[in-house]
């Protein structure tokens, strides 16, 4: 396995980790917060909302824009 394949595998494992965390959160909400709940709390203030939405705009620019 070369360096590129190792990197892709690690990214895949991290994505899988996110899916597992969300599944655990849905089955045990008292132990783990779902992504929606975490975002809801983070976005309860104007600064939080603007910060999160800025992150979203940045994602679009980074992957598609200049």
């Amino acid at each position: 396995m070369n360096s590129h394949e190792v990197s892709v595998t690690i990214y895949g494992a991290l994505a899988l980790g996110g899916v597992v965390v969300e599944l655990v959160a849905l089955s045990k909400p008292d132990r783990v917060a779902s992504l929606g709940r975490a975002l809801g709390r983070a976005m309860r203030t104007r600064t939080g909302r603007v910060g999160i939405v800025t992150g979203w705009v940045w994602l679009g620019l980074h992957f598609f824009g200049l």
């Binding site: 070369n2 360096s3 590129h4 990197s7 892709v8 690690i10 990214y11 991290l14 980790g17 996110g18 965390v21 655990v24 959160a25 008292d30 132990r31 783990v32 917060a33 992504l35 709940r37 975490a38 975002l39 809801g40 709390r41 976005m43 309860r44 203030t45 104007r46 600064t47 939080g48 909302r49 603007v50 910060g51 999160i52 939405v53 800025t54 979203w56 705009v57 940045w58 994602l59 679009g60 620019l61 980074h62 992957f63 598609f64 824009g65 200049l66």
Partner: protein
Amino acid sequence: MAQRSGTRTGAGSTLRTSGQAQVIVVILILAGVFDAISGNPVDALLLIGVGILLGLFPGDPEPEPTAEPSIRSRSRRVIVAGLAAVGFATVVGTFERHSWPMTAGILIPGIGALALAGTGAQQRRPGPPLELRQLLPWITVAVSLGIFELVNLLLQPGLTIDSYDHPTLSVLWDGASGGLGDSIGLLAWITLGVYLVDR
């Protein structure tokens, strides 16, 4: 817009909110500086600009909304937003990646969403406060991803030179085919934005 009920007051809550706001401002400006160094001037301008604006005009703690939109109203909004999202992805997906038309296609809905986030109130109840242990798995995943991205970025021949052996996520994405892949990616991106604005 959702109605507001009583105010949430208290010096502790205000200080905590103010501290969190400062953390967000610092993160945005630092990320913008690193983006500028990495040769992404538009990304950097966005992050630093929003960071400065939030630093100059911090928001006050807000009361939580008391009423959420009805299921009927929400369904209608979901259908309209879904159709608009598919139209957006179909049209903007035809533009060349990393071009000015594509950048404009990202910035127009992006700035609109930022304006809504900056001027509007939260649409839904944020739910009860969360404890750190409930967030720890997400923090672990996010920090691990950030560290791995940073390691790969630093293993590149230069900050502005991509590496096949040590790809960042954007390098992997750039290696993927355009066309339909771009439209699908844009659909996922705009759907996430609609979800965030609706929070």
